[in-house]
Amino acid sequence: MAVTFDAVGPSSAGASAAGASSLTWSHTNTGNALLAGCAVGTGNDAGMSTTATYAAAALTAGAIVHTNLATTGFLRVFTTLTPAAGANNVVVTLAGGTADLEGGSVSVAGAGSFQTQYSATGAADPATATSAGSASGGMIVAFAGCGNSFTSATAPSTSRFIKNLNGNSGGGNCAGATSPSTGSNVTTAWSIVPDSYAVIGVEVLAADLGDGGWRFRLVPPGHSGPPNRGPVGWQAWAGTENTTSATTFPQVLSGSITAAGTVVLQTGKNLLAGASTASGTLSRQTQKLLAATSSPGGVLTRQAAKSFAGSSTPGGVASFTKVVLKAFAGTVTAAGVLIRQAQKVLTGSSTPTGTVSRQAQKVLAGSTTPGGVLVVVRTVLRAFAGTITPSGLLARLTNKPLAGSSTPTGILTRQTRKSFAGSSTATGGLGVLKTVLRAFAGSVTPGGTLARLTSKPLAGSSTPTGTLSRQTAKTFAGSSTPTGGVALLRAFLRAFAGTITPGGTLARQTGKPLAGTTTPVGTLARTTLKSFAGSSTPTGVLARGLLAIRAFAGSVTPSGILARRTLKPLAGSSTPSGILARQTRKSFAGASTPAGVVAAGRLVARVFAGTVSAAGTLSRRTLKSFAGTVAPAGLASILANLVAPVFARSVAAVVAAVSGRSDHTSAAAGISRILAAPTSTAAAGPAADSAATTEPAVRGKGDIL
């Protein structure tokens, strides 16, 4: 059934109102669709807008189109697919002031739906606009507004009304015309006295009568009444809103007709609901768009652009998509269904299926080449996986937050904060990151894969590669300057390596545990304790630390670099610096209380300095060494080898002087043998305690030495 012209309102002369804020005219309708056009002419149309009703029912407003894109007038077209029958009034109301209003209306029969409005502007004769294709059986209804007079409509268009009011502005004249849809582009044109003009066209698609002459109609769920007058594209009589025409839907899928208006919405609903599977042209076109081998054009592009630009309010899938994109951009906060669905997918409580899942899997699997946004997603994932090296914008964007040169904002920041603050439960990658950080912080103990993955690089059983390795190497090699957390880590490692002297926070943080003012806890404490307890084998820095401590403790003999490093300060060929020097000085100066090895070293030094008296184990150990009941090792051995012979020679010299003998060398040898002879522990104890607590005796040794 083709679309046919029904009536024009109020007449072929249209209607106008000069210096008015509304214009009303009569239109007698016997069709099933009505379109009204109204031009507005004024000196400045800023802030002006129009709305319209028919029989007191609001009409759907199209976009405002300014004549020649100026501000002295505009045109707007209003439509309805449910016009009341009979003589009723079209009321156009102007908001924002008073202006010249001219308009007219056209009703048609056999209409099924409206295609999206298209428009054109200019200032030369003729005033014209061309549709982007058309569907045979339909009708193009076009309206024009102009700053000067319309003469006539150009064939094959049929003039329906012309209202020439004045030439005071850019919209003092209005016209309407109809043209049959030809199956291809349709141009509507008017001869005009050249001036600013705007033309808006609407294609009215024919109604689908369906199989067997049934009239299908979209009615609200639960509707049980008889079909109303006029065919519309979709049926609802079976009781389900998504039931579609047995004829039209296959035609849409096969591409034999172009989906528009309600058809598009219903098709989208069916596909999203999984009630049908896209195939044929629809599937191919969708895949092409996703693969970026074709670009959406014409009406689709314009509608999408308008929706995202905010000049029109998107509906259906477009609305959902816009919300999703705004949520990602952080301009809106996802809520309700959107957030629930997103969370379900992220938490794994639901699995994306159907086309989305298949397309995503194909792209990630490499069996198809992604396009558009999917390319970006895939690139990001591969960059994280290390299979590619990010470069250009991706690298810069990734590096900036890490380097601290930019601060993440919007939903990313909020979600991250919430997750780490514990007000929401982090999942997916964020959850992994949180676990890693908490493991480092010691609040959780890594286990399973996390522990293995962490342990492997530390244990040296695996070597980091790819971007991480290269970036790290560059940073530590000095070919790039790290910032933020990387800079801190580098400084920490270099402080341990001795190439820099830690200061500020780093020094304080490092010094505190060494000084005993803080106690490492959690993973660090456990791991360290295990290593020192021998229940695990430390590697890397920890292994070197353990080795150094054991060397000081005498349980191993340092060699190689460790020995050289240790001997150089003792031998005076190098001077300890940095935190080691400061901590040692503080400890020995009494500004801090040393602990562990340092405390032991300090105690020994004070014993030798005479400021404390050796007692207990220290005393016994020293005496045993000097008494020869144990073989001294380390520093004690050095002291025994140096002190005993000199002490013996001194005593022998005294004995010789007293006895008048001069062979004090033999006497000294005898004393040395006595000192070196084994003695009982019981006999050595009191003597040792007496010697250790008698300061002049100790000083006497020093004097002799």
Partner: protein, 126 residues
């Protein structure tokens, strides 16, 4: 082609509805223009925007036994630019064609709201 003119004398319209005419219309004329002078003392240009005046054209094809609405314009008080030069509207009007017929009559109907307003104008069928 005979032109029919129904004068609207200078008068003050109280809040409410008032009719002018009706007048018989020549069978060969169709174009109706109902014009209001906005510049008269206490006219629309001197009134606030809360003063509104709806001016409408009605047609009868049966010597006034029944009337059909043709068109109307909603007017509001105040000064508004009529062109890019900013010149204020001096007149407001509504224009519409009558449906063809014989023995037709036409009338103007005004509906004032907000406050009274002075008007002067004409109803011309040409």
């Amino acid at each position: 082609m005979a032109t029919t003119t129904v004068p609207i004398p200078l008068l003050t319209l109280a809040v409410g509805t008032r009719e002018f005419g009706p007048a018989s219309v020549d069978d060969t004329t169709n174009a109706v223009t109902l014009t209001i002078d906005r510049t008269v003392a206490n006219g629309l240009n001197s009134k606030p925007a809360t003063t509104t005046l709806e001016i409408g054209v009605w047609q009868s094809d049966d010597n006034g036994a029944s009337w059909q609405f043709r068109a109307s314009a909603g007017l509001i008080g105040g000064l508004y630019p009529s062109n890019q030069a900013g010149d204020p509207y001096l007149f407001s009007d509504v224009q519409v064609d009558l449906t063809p017929g014989v023995g037709r009559r036409v009338k103007a109907v005004t509906e004032t709201a907000g406050s009274s307003v002075a008007v002067s104008g004409s109803l011309v069928i040409a």
